[in-house]
Amino acid sequence: MSETVTERQTLPSGAEWTFEAIGLYHTEIARVAADYKLDTYPVQIEMITSEQMMDAYAAVGMPVNYHHWSFGKQFLATEKRYKRGQMGLAYEIVINSDPCIAYLMEENTMTMQALVIAHAAYGHNAFFKGNYLFRTWTSPDAIIDYLIFARNYIAQCEERHGVDAVEELLDSCHALMNVGVDRYKRPPKLSLAKEQARQSERESYLQSQVNELWRTLPIRETEETQKKPTRFPPEPQENILYFIEKHAPLLEPWQREIVRIVRKVAQYFFPQRQTQVMNEGWASFWHYTLLNTLYDEGLLADSFMMEFLHSHSSVMYQPNYNDPWYNGINPYALGFAMWQDIKRICEHPTDEDRAWFPDIAGSPWLETFDFAMRNFKDESFIAQFLSPRLMRSFKLFAVQDDDEKNKLFVSAIHEERGYRELRERLSNQYNLGCREPNIQVWNVDFRGDRSLTLRYQPYNRRPLGKNVEEVMKHLARLWGFTVRVETVQPDGSAKLTYECRKEKRRSDHKNHNDEHA
């Protein structure tokens, strides 16, 4: 290969790709990535059709997943957008697994394939391997096996218990997916062999635990404990699905296993939801840098660069707030700009940069990059690295909307006294704790009507959205008895927000389900 480089012969260009050409491009991209010390999982490239790509998109980006109508809905929506040509970077899916699987779409041109290899197979791949959230929350070596296990298990359940029963259960679990995550506690690593070996053991154990909690025979208790009202759980629980899996009184063992599967999948995507700006920005920075390096070496044809830059700049486009197509801040644009800006601060710092970023101004950029990529998520990344210069170039401004005031209020703009506040606001915007309602399991009345009470801690006086009723119906289906959610008031007391009553046992269960059919 080294001869090819010294001869400065360009890599195959033109719209049509071949397997040989992809191999050649990959070799060169891998070489340059190694020069930049990108630490990645081994790469596996898979060619798929656009239909397969849309299918993978629909099944939350996973090559194997269990079947559910919501993925079908997603598929139809994706298909429609694709046919109308509305998909942005639709030609890229990469799986956080070891080896890292990058999908290339058959319909793409050679340039696009090279772009995706650089973006996904090296950019995202390095991020998956390095970033602390991914290291902590995901098990890349086991995820594919686990999903295969999950798909087969759910297919078995469908055979045994009927498609409808499984579908209803999955509907309910999906409604609670976002509150099925351990945010602060590291989940145990996945392992297929262990999952299978432990599954039956777990079923019987879980059931016995539940039975213990719900036993109706009176236990001899001391006078004291009977008088004192105790809460269960003693501490509020943030992972509602976990609580359901362990403690819902009426679930069958197979139903608990499915709750667990949904929970594990949610857990797996938890880091992705928190690192969108960083991760997309990082991958974009690297496809841009890697391909430009190859161009500087004389390996890429001008026509290649034209097509690449055209695609790159349309993905990185950030409309202004008053443009009709404005749809929030484009994570690709913000992320890419931030990484470019960090490199600039390292290499050519201004006085302002030295004042704001004394630690990194003038430092070797590759080391700073590695540090930043490993140790941050969107929220902290923005709080740490968003520079005044970038706020100026994006012309950022923060608007406060308080329903107790008649007018909106511009709280900070890109000016000297606004930088810190603006940065904090933007960082907050990516904080999951602010984005999603904070709802926790508060109490189970396990001596009385077995009702489950959740507590909502409002943030900035925001109430729960209207669809809380739908979600609570799903929760009631899983719990099997009355469920309610209370909102914590400013004075610390709690007020009932919504209650879904459920007195009878199984027969009622059935009727309720029919409404959803």
Binding site: I413, R461, G465
Partner: protein
């Protein structure tokens, strides 16, 4: 080296699993949309799918979210006029500059219906869900005289024209390998020994001679293995299987006398169209014959059939006679599945109804797979209906139904073709 795996050809149609789950779940809504869609179509215009829209609220996937009230703070790009501390009027409908974020865009989106495209096959699947042709085809199959030949693997005997060269030579190669391998292995062994002895040739003259002799004997034996043996020959096997009749002819018979107004004709058209669609799903090739009649019957094209208007009396038997003649003439029942559908408002010349009964009973029903009579009327049953009622007992392939208005068409059609419970 990177692993590049070509997955384009595996898991074809994997997506359909999730897609079908979706269709299954929203069957009711989809069926309603499909029934609406059939209104605007011409009888042969079936080659396209259909755009289906489902109210978004039916397929929402709820999760806990913030409501819109409270304090929201959001950062925007492209400031062109605001200074810190500015107050802005609340934009209506949340568009433009300010407005609250988060749930807002989600809620806005959910107002729209969910629209997607059904393929032609899916469209028809939904449309004819649970319907089947009356169970006639099976009994007829036994009488079929047409056969077609079909490949069925390979046999070890046959005629020379059917020799399969590739298979035969592959067998021969395998046989030669199998028989020759032990000999060849011995030859290699001998070669090694010879090579070893040759280093000291003078001391091993005898051994060398013996080995060389054995070697040449072995070579002769290897040579003697025949290149091809009759044992190796393989022949393409062909079998004859009965060929089901895959062509059908559908007769549309309609009364166009003065009493059939446009609305009744439109109803009849819908019914014929359903029948056509339905037969299309069961037969590869289908002919449609249009017969209209008042006092005289005439074969016409589709356009004329539906759009021209006549007046005068009604003699139904003329149409049945014409149909019988056409079947005899052009569509021998041995080669064609004959279906008849007759639509009328029930008026007939009194003395003609017994004749109709006779034609159907004695001739026409014997030629048809199925004959359906549709009476489009809101009034009392007339003599034609009463005569026809007598036919149902003796002819299981005859059915009659009344349609009063548009809405009845689909139910009546389903009634006619519903799957018989097994």
């Amino acid at each position: 080296m990177v692993r590049i795996i070509d997955r384009r050809f595996d898991s074809k149609k994997k997506s359909t699993a999730n897609r079908q789950r979706f269709m299954r779940r929203f069957k009711r809504q989809i069926r309603r949309a499909v029934a609406d869609a059939i209104d605007g179509r011409s009888i042969r215009d079936l080659e396209s799918g259909e755009e289906i829209s489902i109210p978004a609220k039916d397929l929402s996937e709820p999760s806990f979210q913030h409501g819109r009230e409270g304090v929201w703070e959001q950062v925007f790009t492209g400031n062109d006029r605001f200074a810190s501390g500015d107050a802005i009027d609340r934009p209506l409908g949340g568009g433009g500059g300010g407005g609250s974020g988060g749930g807002a865009s989600n809620e806005g989106e959910s107002e729209d219906d969910f629209v997607f495209q059904l393929s032609r096959d899916e469209f028809l699947d939904v449309f004819f869900d649970d319907l089947a042709l009356p169970n006639l085809v099976r009994t007829e199959l036994a009488k079929l005289t047409e056969f077609k030949t079909q490949r069925a693997g390979f046999t070890s005997d046959g005629v020379p024209t059917n020799i399969n060269v590739v298979r035969s030579l592959r067998g021969a190669l395998g046989r030669r390998k199998a028989l020759g391998a032990p000999l060849a292995a011995r030859v290699r062994e001998i070669d090694e020994q010879i090579a070893a002895f040759e280093e000291d040739a003078s001391n091993h003259v005898d051994e060398l001679r013996e080995l060389r002799e054995e070697r040449s004997r072995l070579l002769i034996r290897i040579e003697a293995i025949p290149f091809i043996d009759s044992f190796d020959l393989r022949y393409n096997n062909r079998i004859r299987i009965p060929k089901p009749i895959t062509q059908a002819v559908m007769f549309c018979v309609m009364d166009v006398s003065g009493s059939m107004d446009e609305q009744k004709k439109a109803t009849a058209k819908r019914f014929f169209m359903l029948l056509y669609l339905f037969l299309r799903r069961n037969y590869e090739h289908i002919d449609v014959v249009f017969i209209r009649h008042h006092t005289i019957a005439k074969e016409v094209n589709e356009d004329e059939f539906f759009h021209s208007r006549e007046s005068g009396g009604t003699v139904v038997s003329s149409a049945l006679r014409l149909m019988t003649d056409i079947v005899r003439d052009r569509y021998p029942p041995g080669a064609w599945n004959v279906y008849g559908a007759q639509a009328s408002d029930g008026d007939n010349w009194d003395n003609d109804s017994p004749i109709c009964y006779q034609i159907l009973d004695e001739e026409l029903l014997g030629l048809c797979r199925y004959f359906a009579y549709i009476e489009i009327t809101t009034g009392e049953a007339q003599n034609l209906w009463r005569q026809y009622e007598g036919l149902t007992a003796s002819h299981p392939n005859f059915a009659l139904q009344r349609i009063e208005s548009h809405e009845d068409i689909y139910p009546v059609f389903r009634e006619l073709f519903k799957k018989e419970s097994v």
